[in-house]
């Protein structure tokens, strides 16, 4: 008796989800620790050794806090919004391959031909979570946050897509596995260094992280779109934000840093070793995120827009055009 395909997919999905949620919990602790060290503090260390039980304590706190809905809020959309954010953030992991066996079998829940498009589509829908949350909260700061989020997402998503298209041109495929396999000899960070820099900047903006966290902006907007949220619903937004961080880190790894390809030529890059390489690269990218947050102050909103439209977008377009021309002139490359 063979195992039905849906059961395999279900098991895979559950495993990936469990791993991803654990990663979220500890990336949060990791962030608080690293930020603490960078600010000459020890970071959380009261719950368990080195604060390792902190995520559990946080989860318990979130669950037992009161779940408030403001009188002026639109109850249905207000309650729905966190789930939109979270589902979109989680959905992306359905197609991210973490490693591959020597025979080409991917370590992923599903292998979608239009993988990269799928991820971008999902993250774009994720913006709805934030926008609707701010809109449905029925008070001013969340509304301002959601308006900002919409504008910021549109401005930066464009440059982000542009930067990724360079990679797609080099590969000639939108499947993430093909993109990684095309980087076996040279990672795309070398030919696409401009694309990579743009991707990193826009990825930070896409996930609403400092220095582009104008959507939350504690100092100006109290908490932006999630000002009114409390308890578990706030927790869901929190999870979504971190999952998005992990997603863009994984994508950066897949698109530019060679995915599970080994950085050292004589070491294997398949199976478990591939997973190790993948995690190291994505982990470094996550670290960079935290490093960025504790180093740079928040952008002013008009500068954010200026930077997005007047610098990133033209440079990304230029990069795309140059890549396309070079690939067209060297047919052997494609």
């Amino acid at each position: 008796m063979s195992i039905p395909i849906w059961l395999i997919v279900l098991i895979k999905a559950i495993v990936v989800l469990a791993v991803v949620i654990t990663t979220f919990a500890y990336s949060m602790l990791f962030e608080r620790k690293v930020m603490g060290w960078m600010q000459l503090r020890p970071g959380p260390n009261r719950v368990g050794p080195w604060g390792l039980m902190q995520p559990a304590a946080d989860a318990v706190k979130m669950i037992f806090k009161e779940d408030l809905t403001p009188d002026t809020a639109d109850p249905l959309i207000y309650r729905l919004a966190p789930f939109i954010s979270l589902l979109c953030a989680m959905g992306a992991f359905a197609i991210i391959p973490f490693s591959a066996n020597a025979d080409g079998t991917l370590w992923a829940v599903g292998n979608v031909n239009a993988g990269i498009l799928f991820v971008f589509a999902l993250t774009s829908i994720g913006v709805y979570g934030i926008s609707l949350a701010g809109w449905a909260s029925g008070s001013k700061f969340p509304l301002l946050g959601s308006v900002r989020s919409t504008a910021q997402m549109i401005s930066y998503e464009l440059s982000m897509s542009m930067s990724v298209i360079g990679v797609l041109i080099l590969t000639g495929s939108t499947a993430l596995a093909d993109i990684v396999n095309a980087q076996q000899r040279v990672w795309f960070i070398i030919p696409q260094i401009i694309g990579f820099v743009i991707y990193v900047i826009t990825a930070v903006a896409e996930t609403n992280r400092a220095p582009f966290d104008l959507v939350e902006a504690e100092t100006e907007l109290v908490g932006g779109f999630h000002t009114e949220y409390s308890g578990l619903r706030f927790g869901l937004f929190f999870i979504a934000e971190y999952l998005n961080m992990i997603t863009v880190s994984c994508l950066a790894t897949l698109l530019f840093l060679g995915g599970w390809n080994s950085p050292i030529p004589w070491l294997p890059s398949t199976g478990v070793m591939g997973l190790v390489w993948f995690l190291i690269k994505a982990g470094l990218f996550l670290f960079f995120y935290i490093w960025l947050r504790s180093t740079l102050p928040r952008f002013r909103y008009d500068r954010l827009m200026d930077f997005g439209w007047k610098v990133l977008f033209p440079v990304a377009t230029l990069n795309l055009v140059i890549t396309a021309v070079v690939v067209a002139l060297m047919p052997s490359h494609a």
Partner: protein
């Protein structure tokens, strides 16, 4: 263009600063498990001292209550009964109360006291859930007989220092003697006035 290049340099300096801070020693004192050493003249919870024979030093003169800028001290004096003398003098404090929530821990009561009866100890962990618990009466202020006679601040570490020059130094160090020198000035002046200090 040149300004932009400068900005890029500033960016790298910023990143290298935050990165190097990861490995720096953290100045955090993990308070409940680790306690920082206070300056010896730290102004904390009050204490009513005794003489070596166990008699109370307080003579119920109310000078501390008069000196108190926060009106935190209430003293009710009484005559000593000849058969049961509480203090060596004629009078003693029948009731001595300090409201530690009103107290600003300035130490003027200590300065005012002619018998060095009321002193400020370095004890500071007085937290409680009830406001009433912060009114300390004699039962908690007076040194219990089995605990000795209590120590005056200038007796605490190692006698009265003659050098008062360490004030500025003491501000940013936890060096115990420097802190002592810095904060003990009032007491030394008082002793000098009375012709006790050398």
């Amino acid at each position: 263009m040149r300004k932009n290049l400068y900005n890029v340099g500033a960016l790298f300096r910023g990143f290298s600063t935050t990165f190097s801070y990861i490995f720096k020693k953290k100045p955090t004192v993990e308070y409940p498990s680790v306690k920082k050493q206070h300056a010896p003249r730290f102004h904390g919870l009050h204490e009513l001292r005794r003489y070596d024979d166990g008699k109370e030093r307080c003579i119920g003169c109310e000078l501390c209550a008069i000196a108190c800028p926060a009106n935190a001290i209430t003293v009710i004096g009484a005559e000593n009964a000849p058969e049961d003398r509480r203090s060596p003098g004629e009078r003693y404090a029948a009731s001595y109360e300090i409201d530690e929530l009103r107290c600003i821990f300035c130490g003027l009561c200590e300065e005012a006291c002619p018998t060095d009866a009321i002193v400020l100890t370095p004890r500071f962990e007085m937290a409680d859930y009830r406001r009433g618990a912060f009114v300390y009466a004699k039962d908690r202020l007076l040194v219990p007989t089995e605990a000795g006679v209590g120590t005056a601040p200038d007796e605490r570490p190692n006698g009265i220092p003659s050098d008062l020059g360490g004030v500025a130094r003491a501000k940013d160090t936890v060096d115990i003697t420097a802190g002592y020198e810095a904060t003990n000035r009032g007491h030394i002046l008082k002793k000098q006035r009375r012709g006790l200090a050398g």
